[in-house]
């Protein structure tokens, strides 16, 4: 797409949208939102970048290697946090009993492992959206 208005508006909007997505992921245990919603917002900004600036520039921002690392890393991070509970408290995916810090309810540092899991889910959802999009447009025409 070779339109100067679309390119400049996209360049302005993408940082704000990505910061908003990160905000939703990190506040998932305090306010409505969470890993799935925030990850979808971040994935959408990456898709928007690829749509406006073309596949070659999009490949530089989020390459196939990066998507491989994010895809596997999200699950490995999730399972690692689950294994901490298995080692410490004899149950897979234990929260407070496994020694994760409780914090004060309503603040950003609270909820034990819930924010950590939300980060993993957010990375996973964002990379899944952009990877599926890239795979489909690489094959098409």
């Amino acid at each position: 797409m070779n339109d100067i208005i679309v390119k400049n508006i996209t360049r302005i909007i993408i940082p704000f949208a990505q910061v908003y997505g990160i905000f939703i992921i990190l506040n998932g245990h305090v306010s409505p939102g969470g890993g799935f919603a925030g990850g979808a917002i971040i994935g959408t900004t990456l898709i928007l970048y690829t749509l406006v600036f073309g596949r070659e520039k999009g490949k530089k921002k989020f390459s196939h290697k990066a998507s491989e690392i994010a895809e596997s890393g999200g699950i490995i991070w999730f399972v690692t946090i689950g294994l901490v509970g298995l080692v410490v408290a004899d149950r897979f995916l234990t929260n407070i009993n496994a020694g994760f810090p409780e914090g004060i309810i309503g603040e950003i540092l609270s909820g034990g492992m819930i924010p950590l899991l939300m980060i993993g889910i957010g990375v996973k959802v964002a990379s899944t959206m952009i990877s599926l999009f890239n795979l489909l447009i690489d094959e098409g025409v």
Binding site: V30, E71, I75, G82
Partner: protein, 99 residues
């Protein structure tokens, strides 16, 4: 003959399903199967047991953490499936061009 039989079976099943739908508890009925002890337990003890202000996140990541792990594995499997179908041909072409 076969068509009449299948149509009759379809009508009988349809009547049974409509009857079952009208037997279900509607709206905010206290006897609805969704309002069992587990829902009450989550609402009363969720904040003290997980220390998360958002009860949805507490259920999603703490009480039902195993389900969420399954959901992320579903996402991973979707990417692997699409990649195994679509990427193989492209990759072969790149390898052939390289040689």
């Amino acid at each position: 003959m076969r068509k009449i039989l299948s149509n009759t079976l379809f009508i009988v099943l349809f009547v049974v399903l409509v009857y079952a739908v009208f037997q279900m508890p509607t709206g905010a009925n206290i006897n609805a199967p969704a309002y069992n002890d587990i829902a009450r337990h989550y609402l009363e003890n969720g904040a003290s047991e997980t220390n998360a202000a958002n009860i949805i996140a507490a259920i999603l990541a703490d009480y039902r953490g195993f389900d969420t792990l399954g959901e992320t594995i579903v996402l991973f499997t979707s990417v692997v499936a699409v990649g195994s179908v679509l990427r193989s041909t492209k990759h072969d072409k790149e390898v052939r061009d390289h040689e």
